[in-house]
Structures are given as structure tokens and as C-alpha cells.
């Protein structure tokens, strides 16, 4: 399984890519494998500020449904519209086309609570 070094991670199996004042968020390769075929990504929090650890959406696989937890407090600026027609991108390209939201980073101190690739790898192995 692949856990890119340039990303940060949470124990809820999300990845975060920080680009200046904003970040991109998705689920990890481990998470997509555990869920299986993803058929629907349901995110209705665009324009809303979501606190760290609160639910910003849900991801549905054929057999299961799982909540998505906000890794950092921030406003959801954008939801990946491409996933509406192609939710399988989360399976096929979890760190690329499978990104889920773009959000602001309201509290930079929270970044310290995220895990490195090495730490995350330790968690799932």
C-alpha cells in the first residue's frame, strides 16, 4: 500500500495535503481497500465551517457506509464534483483524482496533531 511522504494523515484514515492556507482532504489507500467498491461520496457541507473531528460527509461502498471526519477545523471551499459521476476514483486514485474536499485551515495549531506517513504506516501495519 502506498502512503506518500508529502501528505499528512489521521487515525481515521484520511490524508491531508497542505497548500499554503488551504488543504485538500481524501481517504487513504488503506481506507479505500477496507471499504471496497465505493459507489457514492455524499458531502453536503460546502460553504460550512466544520470543526476538527466532526463529520463532513459520508462515503458509501456497496456493503457499508462510513463517516468522513474533518482532520482540521476549516471551511469547506470545494467538493470534488468529479466523484459524483466517478466515485470509483477514490478506489483507483485515492491521493489524486479521489480527493474529496478543499478546505481552509482555521487553526494552524491543529496541524501538529496530524500524523506523518511513517507514523500512519505504523498504525495500519
Amino acid at each position: 500500500m502506498n502512503f506518500p511522504e508529502n501528505l499528512l494523515y489521521t487515525k481515521d484514515h484520511e490524508w491531508i495535503r497542505i497548500e499554503g492556507d488551504v488543504c485538500y482532504i481524501g481517504i487513504t489507500d488503506f481506507a479505500q481497500k477496507e471499504l471496497g467498491d465505493i459507489v457514492y461520496v455524499d458531502i453536503a457541507t460546502k460553504g460550512k465551517t466544520v470543526n476538527q473531528h466532526d463529520v463532513f460527509g459520508t462515503v458509501e461502498a456497496v456493503k457499508t457506509v462510513s463517516d468522513l471526519f474533518m482532520p482540521l477545523t476549516g471551511e469547506v471551499l470545494e467538493v470534488n464534483a468529479g466523484l459524483d459521476a466517478a466515485p470509483e476514483n477514490v478506489n483507483n486514485d485515492a491521493y489524486g483524482e479521489g480527493w474529496m474536499i478543499k478546505a481552509t485551515i482555521a487553526n494552524k495549531n491543529e496541524v501538529a496533531s496530524l500524523m506523518s506517513a511513517a507514523d500512519y504506516k505504523g498504525l495500519v501495519h
Binding site: 467498491d37 455524499d42 458509501e60 456497496v62 456493503k63
Partner: protein, 358 residues
């Protein structure tokens, strides 16, 4: 926890194993949608050895079966199979099952794994007929070879003319060099195919022969996950989800296996429901707006009143939309009725449709 004879094989194939009905079972080998499509389009093999098998033998075997089951087993002839259920005294169902007739004095009953002990006790308790009963569940494996190419795979392995066997018939015979095998034209996928009952000692030999013969059809092992999406697309009830100790077969749309041509346990109750009309009915529905129904989600009317509950639901891999079943008040049971499924506090539009979905 109990283990099927081929447990180690499934583990070595990389299956994800889960506890199901007290057994360690393969729920997924690799990819659910691939496994689902393999069965719909070609052939897949389910190890469903957790299922229970009882033998009933004796001059009064039919009398016992007629008392405990809702369908009319007197209609069976040798080599025929019948879908049926065991009504309880409280208006519900102990289990659903298959009844196999070997001859007028010998029958096999095939029951759900989760209910083996409950069914055995229930039937034994009503066996005032001196019928000899034998529980063969721990000695028998069951491989469900399902899909349109199943017949081509299995025909390579047996002299029995499979194309001459009608749906819901069976025979004893030899297959893949294993003697004393039961070849049954039945299944829980609606994709065609056979179920092969084999003694545990022969299970591995049978499995290997089936996979060798199936190579040219890209045969694959298929898990309980795909079995569930396949059966739901065909609207087949799952005991514990869609039918249980409290549901009448009449409410569940199983009137076709509930025959009032003979008395059976609690038949008056079900007959009254049939004559007076059921107040709730099991219906199939498909999502109109986007969402995936799941078991226990509430079903609402347009005004937000609760009218029922989802008993089974999934994203259908074949139809690529959310489908489900659930009990609703009779007034909402007509095809095309608009209903709403409560998904994460939102009412998502759906409509009642005919089953099977596919």
C-alpha cells in the same frame, strides 16, 4: 466458532473471513463487484457449507413435513425440490428452507446455518410420527456453482445429463470422481447454476476439479458479500432480514409457498391474513434520488410519517442504483407509490417497484 471443511483454503486464497451464523466464512475474496459480475455473466463458486442438512426418513415423513411446513409437500415427486417455510405459533417464521424428496419415505431439509439448532428442536418437538431424523450438517459441504456458464463447467465433471435437469430438481450421482454427491438445480443468485452437496472428505477434490474445469470461463471464488447483492437483485428473502420470527409469509409475499390445501402449524392465522388482507407488506423499492438504502433505515411518506422500515438494501451492482426491500403499510404497497427513505436525517425519494429488480 465453527469452521467449514475448506476454511484453510479460503484463508490461503486471501479471503476476508467474518463470523456469520457462528461460522468463519469468506465474505469477500478480492472485489465485490467483480465477484458479483462473474456470477451474473459467467460463473462463480460460493462455499455455503454452513447451511444445515437434515434427513427425515420413515413412512410418516410426509405427514411431519406437511405439519411443520407451509408449502404443500404432497405435490413433490421423487427428485424434486420445494421452497417452503416453517411457521411458528406466534404468526412468524422459524426459518425458510428447501425440501428435497428422495422417495415417498425419505426427504432432506436444507436450512439456514443460523437456525440449525432452532429448526432441529422445532421439528423434533413436532415429531410425534416416529420419523427418523438425522442432522448431517457437520458432515456435509455445499458448493453453489452459480452463473450462466456453471452448467458447462459441471458437465465436464459428470455423466449426469445436466441440461435435462429442470429448475428445482436434483439427483444423486458422481461428479469429479466423488461418489454420493447431490447435484441440485437450485441457487440463491437468480443467475442459473447448480448446488453441489458433497461429503466433507471430498470437498477439496470437488473444489479443485470445478476450478480446473472452469478456467476457460474465468471462474472465481465468490463470497457472501456478492451472494447478498445477487439475491437482493432477484428479490429473494433473507431470513433474519426480510423474514423472521414475527413476519407472516403472507405479508412477505410468500403466499405462493403458503398453501391452505392442508393444515399446518398456525395455518388459521395466515389464512385470516390472506382473506382479510395484510396490514403491512414486504415491497421492493428503488431510489429515485441518490442514496443507498440500508437495513433498519426508516421508510416515510411524503409528509414525513413513518410507514415502515428497510429490511435489506444495497447499491445494485447490475443496475447501478440503490435498491431495497422493506415492510410498509398496505396503503403504500402498490407499484409506483412514492416513498422516502430516511438516510442520515434526510428523506430521499424512492418508489415501490416490482420484484425481482432484475
Amino acid at each position: 466458532m465453527k469452521y467449514v471443511a475448506l476454511n484453510d483454503l479460503h484463508v490461503s486464497l486471501g479471503a476476508k473471513m467474518i463470523e456469520f451464523a457462528g461460522y468463519n466464512m469468506p465474505v469477500l475474496y478480492n472485489n465485490l463487484i467483480q465477484e458479483h459480475n462473474a456470477v451474473r455473466n459467467s460463473v462463480g463458486v460460493f462455499d455455503v457449507s454452513h447451511m444445515g442438512e437434515f434427513m427425515l426418513k420413515g413412512e410418516k415423513a410426509l405427514e411431519l413435513i406437511q405439519l411443520v411446513t407451509s408449502n404443500d409437500a404432497s405435490k413433490l415427486t421423487d427428485g424434486k425440490v420445494q421452497y417452503s417455510c416453517l411457521p411458528n405459533n406466534e404468526g412468524g417464521i422459524v426459518d425458510d428452507l428447501l425440501v428435497y424428496r428422495w422417495n415417498e419415505n425419505e426427504y432432506y431439509l436444507v436450512v439456514n446455518a443460523s437456525n440449525i439448532d432452532k429448526d432441529w428442536n422445532w421439528i423434533s418437538q413436532h415429531n410425534t410420527f416416529g420419523v427418523e431424523m438425522k442432522n448431517m450438517s457437520d458432515d456435509m459441504s455445499l458448493l453453489a456453482v452459480q452463473g450462466p456458464n456453471a452448467i458447462k463447467v459441471l458437465q465436464k465433471l459428470t455423466e449426469v445429463n445436466l441440461s435435462a435437469m429442470e429448475y428445482y430438481t436434483f439427483c444423486g450421482g458422481s461428479m469429479a470422481g466423488c461418489e454420493d454427491v447431490i447435484i441440485s438445480n437450485t441457487g440463491y443468485t437468480g443467475a442459473g447454476g447448480f448446488e453441489i452437496y458433497v461429503w466433507n472428505k471430498d470437498a477439496r477434490k470437488m473444489w479443485d476439479a470445478i476450478f480446473e474445469a472452469g478456467k476457460e470461463f474465468d471462474i472465481m471464488p465468490t463470497g457472501l458479500g456478492a451472494r447478498d447483492t445477487l439475491r437482493l437483485e432477484k428479490g429473494f428473502c433473507l431470513y433474519g432480514n426480510d423474514i423472521n420470527d414475527t413476519t407472516s409469509p403472507i405479508e412477505a409475499g410468500l403466499g405462493w409457498i403458503t398453501k391452505f390445501t392442508k393444515p399446518f402449524i398456525n395455518h388459521e392465522y395466515h389464512k385470516a391474513i390472506k382473506e382479510n388482507g395484510a396490514t403491512k407488506k414486504l415491497v421492493g423499492f428503488e431510489m429515485i434520488d441518490r442514496g443507498i438504502p440500508r437495513q433498519h433505515y426508516m421508510i416515510k411518506d411524503v409528509d414525513g410519517n413513518t410507514i415502515g422500515e428497510v429490511t435489506s438494501g444495497t447499491q445494485s451492482p447490475s443496475l447501478n442504483k440503490g435498491i431495497g426491500m422493506g415492510y410498509v403499510s398496505a396503503a403504500f404497497s402498490k407499484v409506483d407509490t412514492e416513498i422516502f427513505i430516511e438516510i442520515r436525517d434526510k428523506a430521499i425519494k424512492a418508489k415501490v417497484v416490482k420484484v425481482p429488480f432484475l
